[in-house]
């Protein structure tokens, strides 16, 4: 009841003309930067930060949050239409959604991600409103051992994104794991594989790698192989709206994706990528159309898209209640708080109730605006495909270049971007999937650090992973994920055998 009253007063703050306007600007800008590959919400908020120093903090933070979750909506559009993830959290969408688009189902793909994002965003905000204190307590129970076990689970489920050829997928995964080793080891401060280049000391920026592999690699590929002959753009076939069957196949993945995304947003280093992989793997397992996966299954778009949006709402929970940024964008929003002399933490709910509840209320409104921006305009986004390819890819290249250079104004990142772009091109040419590279690059360093932290704390005792209850549970789930499908297959075969050898002995 107390929460409801607080939320109502929050709506009073969020519905003032100024805050409504800033929220609208935020989500629109967010959608735009989400659509543009290489320009992410973290970069955008960072660029806007100095300009908003004199703003009212509530309004500015409403705008920044809008940019953040707006980008999750927009990121899917690029993924689906161009096979280039607008955000690292939409890598999975790029695989499955783009296949749908190639089969002339761009409309339903965009619709299921917009509606899924809305559903997840709204549920996420409701959760943020009501379970913040509880979820923070759970997040605090995650030490290094627990994190490592979650990473193991993520690695096992990653096999779902390896593509059609396990050998090629694993090769790509190991490329990612290897380049993930580059940089200073944070436990000992020793440089690894940096070849004496100071720019490599911080490791490869995930944004540069993602943009290089997808945007630059794809552009080179298109320029090399697809510029001859007729343009291959598929004409829109049938309705851009979701059919009854699409709805039936989407609503469960939306809810399951939300269930994956929100908790991962809450835990530090959880982020939005892992839950999208988990969601994708789950949908592939559960779907009755699992043969369609990899060729454009709507479940593979609906689930991950819901997951990344729910994760964005989840991220705000530890940020507001603990001052704990769990993603790059959250870290910059934290800097925004500090710019106004505010320190997020449990006390913030008492000292700045207007700001906190105004911000939360603005997210309900922002999600509705985003649905309106993305759903009726789905047709407009689809029209993006009719932009002539040379112009479109030139534009992508410009934004990718700007984005990579903007990270730290360094020519080195540009050289890296194009070097990795070349790698992406070669991989594409030889049909090696690029998504596993990113999976390895994200999960590899995280799991290594958590593993070593856990062992440092346990003084080298490996049993810490099975004696901690949460860690043990997660590992048990991992084992089930591996064993159950095999066991199931075995049982089925035995049944088949039993039927086959029906005749009594």
């Amino acid at each position: 009841m107390e929460t409801l009253n607080a939320l109502l007063s929050g709506f009073a703050v969020a519905l003032t003309l100024q805050n409504l306007l800033l929220g609208f600007v935020g989500v629109t800008l967010g959608t735009a930067v989400g659509v543009l590959p290489g320009v992410g919400p973290a970069l955008t908020v960072a660029l806007l930060l100095p300009a908003t120093a004199s703003f009212d903090p509530t309004g500015a933070l409403i705008m920044f949050a809008g940019i953040y979750y707006g980008a999750m909506f927009g990121g899917s559009t690029t993924s689906i239409l161009l096979n280039t993830p607008g955000e690292s959290a939409t890598i999975v969408t790029a695989m499955e959604g783009n296949m749908m688009a190639k089969r002339g189902r761009a409309g339903p793909a965009l619709a299921t991600s917009a509606i899924g994002s809305f559903v997840a965003g709204t549920i996420g905000t409701v959760l943020l409103t009501f379970v913040s204190p509880f979820a923070v307590d759970v997040a605090l129970k995650f030490g290094p051992a627990e994190y490592f076990s979650v990473m193991v689970l993520a690695f096992v489920t990653v096999s779902a994104v390896l593509g059609s050829s396990p050998a090629r997928g694993l090769a790509a995964l190991f490329i990612g794991l290897t380049i993930g080793l580059i940089g200073l080891d944070s436990q000992t401060g020793q440089a690894r594989f940096t070849l004496g280049v100071p720019e490599l000391l911080d490791g490869l920026d995930i944004v540069v790698v993602a943009v290089g592999l997808f945007a630059v690699g794809e552009t080179l590929y298109v320029a090399t192989y697809l510029n001859r002959g007729v343009d291959t753009i598929e004409q829109m076939k049938g309705s851009i709206w979701m059919s009854k069957d699409d709805w039936k196949r989407s609503w469960k993945p939306w809810l399951r994706g939300t269930a994956f995304g929100f908790p991962f947003g809450c835990i530090p280093a959880g982020g939005a990528e892992i839950p999208t992989f988990l969601s994708y793997a789950t949908e592939k397992k559960l779907s009755q159309h699992s043969a369609e996966f990899g060729k454009g299954a709507i479940e593979g778009v609906a689930g991950p898209e819901a997951a990344n949006n729910a994760s964005a709402s989840g991220t705000l929970m530890p940020l507001l209640t603990l001052g704990l940024p769990t993603t790059a964008t959250a870290a910059i929003i934290l800097a925004a708080f500090q710019q106004y002399g505010l320190q997020p933490g449990p006390l913030l709910f008492d000292t700045q109730p207007e700001l906190i509840w105004g911000l939360i209320a603005s997210m309900y409104i922002g999600n509705v605006i985003l649905l309106a921006l993305n759903l009726p305009l789905v047709g407009v986004w689809v029209k993006l495909l009719s932009i002539p390819r040379p112009l479109l890819y030139a534009g992508i290249l410009i934004f990718a270049t700007m984005g990579a250079y903007g990270i730290r104004n360094s020519w080195f990142d540009l050289a890296l971007l194009y070097g990795i772009g070349l790698l992406g091109f070669v991989m594409r040419r030889y049909d090696i999937p690029v998504a596993p590279v990113l999976v390895g690059l994200i999960l590899g360093p995280l799991s290594e650090q958590q593993f070593r932290r856990a062992l440092a704390i346990s003084q080298g005792d490996l049993s810490i992973f099975v004696t901690q209850p949460i860690s043990a549970t997660v590992l048990a789930i991992t084992a089930l994920v591996v064993i159950v499908p095999q066991a199931w297959r075995l049982v089925r075969r035995m049944q088949a055998d039993a039927i086959g050898h029906h005749s009594p002995i």
Binding site: A32, A46, L49, P50, A53, A139, L140, K141, F142, G143, P144, L184, D185, S186, Q187, T188, G189, Q190, A191, P198, E199, L201, D202, P268, A269, P318, L322, G323, L324, P325, T326, A331, I332, L334, A335, Q338, Q339, G341, Q343, P344, G345, P346, L347, L348, V380, K383, L384, S386, I387, G395, I407, R408, N409, S410, Q449, R453, A456, I457, Q459
Partner: protein, 327 residues
Amino acid sequence: MRHNDIGAGLGRALRTVLAGLALAGATTLACAADYKILVPAAPGGGYDQLGRAVQAALQANKLADRVQVNNVAGAGGTIGLAQLINSSKGDGGALMASGKGMVSAVFINKSPVTLANVTPIARLTGEYEVLVVPASSPLKNMADLVAAYKANPAAVSWAGGFAGGVDQLTAGMIVQAIGGEAGKFNYVAFGSGGEVLAQVLGGHVTVGLGGFNEFAGQIKAGKLRALAVTAPARVPDIDVPTLKEQGIAVEFVNWRGIMAAPGISDAQRDELVKTVTQMAKSDAWKATLAKNEWVDMLMTGDEFRQYVEAEQKTVLKLVNDLGLVKR
């Protein structure tokens, strides 16, 4: 054709955005900035906050017409340091935010350039480190922590930021002061102050280290207990006993300040010292300090140059003792 209308509209919108971006870029580049402040870190961190606060205070006091802030992140600030040294030699308007972390990063990263290559102007702010445990921890004060360490050194895990950062330096100094070996204590490095906070609150590590401001909210809320602060004497607003009070002869301050380019003339240097001192004594700067809860640590000119030299020696010895620099 409706399709084309929409396409043209989008194209127009895109062009407007691009033009706006180009314009924004052009205005920053076109004006001859009186000062350029190089921030050797990404937006949002300590160096960035200092650089932008100096920018605002210089402008508020009309000490400069234009001040441009430029972020060059990477390798603990040593990439920015190298850039200042290589591209701004003799430029009296080129400044850089710097601090204790950079002193250490130079050694850890085996940087070919060091703070000896730049012209120190002023130390401006500082932040003390605190040692925190969860409220439920049996450790009530430093004596308890020391006893736990002496009973079983490896069982005490010290959580803080990146290896060789200010948190590990602080922990190393404390371990040395209580008779332990700096190269052999159980330091667990985490990615950010936020992660350290969560690990301490969750009770996964014995003790956490970080800047006071990072933990202030949780300390005031009673969820964390501060065992000690690294200040030389009790600090107003920080109701935590010092290490010295508890018989451990360690003080530590994570200072931040402003450096100028190498190769500038004495006159240029004196002018910069004068300007920065004027800024640091202004009301606008005092308000900034209060808002960010930064400790005023103004020290300028020769005194600051000697301080930086001494800091480099102390930190070099410490990172060697900690076993962080392998030769």
